[in-house]
Amino acid sequence: MAHVDDGTLNALLDGELDDAEAAEVRAHLAACAECAARFQDAQRFLDEAAELLGVLAPAAPEARPADVRPAEPPARPQPGPAGVAPLSPVAPAGPAAPGEPPRRVSKTAREIAVDLDGATHKSPAIAPNFPRAGEPLPAPDPSFSGREVLPLNRPAYHRPDWATLAWAASVVLALGVGYLANEVKHGRTTVASGGEAAVSASDSVPAQATQRATATRAARQPTVAKALGSLAGSTLGPRPAAARGPKPPRQAVADAMQLAAAPAEAAGIAMNAPAAELAAARAAPSPAAAAPGAGGVLGARAQRRAAAPTFRLTNVDEAAAHFAGTLRTVEGLALESVKIGPGTLVPGAVPTQDVVRLAYTEPSGRRLQLDQQRLPQARDASREARARAVPPALGLGYGDTLVTTGPAGEARVRWLDRSGLWMSLMGNLPADSLRALLARIR
């Protein structure tokens, strides 16, 4: 037999040769001093390399529970039928667990020899269906469920059932019809979108606008109630809607308004933010004028909005200075605007700290909003101290990803960045697409 190359020697040491091959190599090693010496070298390099890699194993503080590592390699759970071949018992997985001396990854020559005398194990080849770079990816595996992937500490988001969606849609439709009917009745043909913002935009004097908006709302209520009542009666078959039940129509409308206002409020910090901000800015000089005419919930809301501080335009440098230089951006998307505003305007944020908001437009034209906020800083930089410094009210910890979908269909992902930023990405696109964008945040 010709001399044995280093690759084969390593394959022997790693238990990758089958019985016949191994026996042949062993026979040669017994006869050839040169190859035997190289075998010793290969052995030394293997052991030393394994030891060096063991040094790089993660350190103790976040010790993994011992039971995570399989006690015996054959007991290790295996993927599906077309999946990966079982691990060879001669190459146990994983390096040292914390606290233990580094585990040797491979066997010594003596152990190999023992194996050769007894039964030698070998990994069967893996299925050749693994895609190389550039090849199209294989079809999705139906047994794979995405649900298990992200370690959510909070309950996972569940798709609302269609009945609920249909119900919500019909409520919104009823409101719209009522609003239209009212507009027609008053001889106005301009149909504007989105609450006070739109109404005040159509007027020139802000104080009057706010007042009129409130008054119009109040006057509109019975009409809306009627429209809602009739619609609810006619279209909502199977599901006993709240609006149709024992509640008086007026109460139902209040509920419905609340419901309809929710997207508007979310939108106040979201998609039609410019309009809402415009309205708030206009109404600001005359909150007192707005107050008298404003009765009930709507008036209070108008007042609150009028008095609330808003986002102001700024630039990237200033925003970055706000965060001591670590401003996150979405790579590859065109930045539309940079704003700073108080945390009170952003649901889920720390109210006492400012939020920097970057607005983007996706290639498909959908708008995205990346909010970020510096969290209160821990004194030392240890992981534990940082984790403790996270306000519990956020409902988030490092490593969590909180995905929500708003009533208007906008998705929102919230997480904590490892450099101590609270992050929120929001956009009118499916949650999965939004989550995919996280990879592009730098």
Binding site: D14, R44, E48, L52, A82, A91, G94, A133, D141
Partner: protein, 160 residues
């Protein structure tokens, strides 16, 4: 899939990057990608993607993040006055990491995958090698790692 591979992935990425947070971020990203296009043969796929991400991330980190990382590393160092033993261990870790950084992407990948218990067939699949070339790659990678480490140690002793 997550439970099965997460720990091993993070360990590999930690060895590769030397930064636990980064390792966990990258592992997360690997799973996000797996979500987008579920692989039929997850193990080599996940680890191949992880190695690629680590490589890209390393390049990017070299460009953008260097100051921040240095800053936090400094803080870590000043935070806990270390015992001699600890210093020695840290020096050894640094030397091993420097040695590993000198290897080619292929050699390093093969070593890291082997350390996670991959067989030759899986290593070949994950790195796009011919199955027969894995033994040779590993032989070279092991030798180079050891030699680079020894050189690093010598350099460290000389500078002290």
């Amino acid at each position: 899939m997550y439970a099965q591979y997460h720990e091993s992935l993070v360990r590999l990425l930690y060895r590769r990057t030397g930064d636990r947070d980064r390792a966990e971020d990258l592992a997360q990203e690997v799973f996000v990608r797996a979500l987008e296009a579920p692989p039929t043969n997850p193990r080599p796929w996940l680890f191949a993607v992880a190695l690629n991400l680590a490589r890209d991330d390393g390049r990017r980190a070299a460009r953008h993040d260097r100051k921040l990382e240095q800053y936090s590393a400094e803080q870590e160092r000043t935070a806990a006055p270390a015992a001699d033993e600890e210093i020695e261990r840290r020096e050894k870790t640094d030397a091993v990491r420097a040695a590993l950084a000198q290897l080619s992407e292929k050699d390093r990948g093969a070593l890291l995958l082997k350390a996670e218990g991959f067989g030759y067939g899986e290593i070949a699949a994950a790195l796009g090698l011919a199955p027969g070339a894995v033994g040779t790659t590993l032989a070279r990678a092991r030798r180079r790692l050891v030699e680079a480490y020894r050189a690093e140690e010598k350099r460290g002793d000389g500078s002290r």
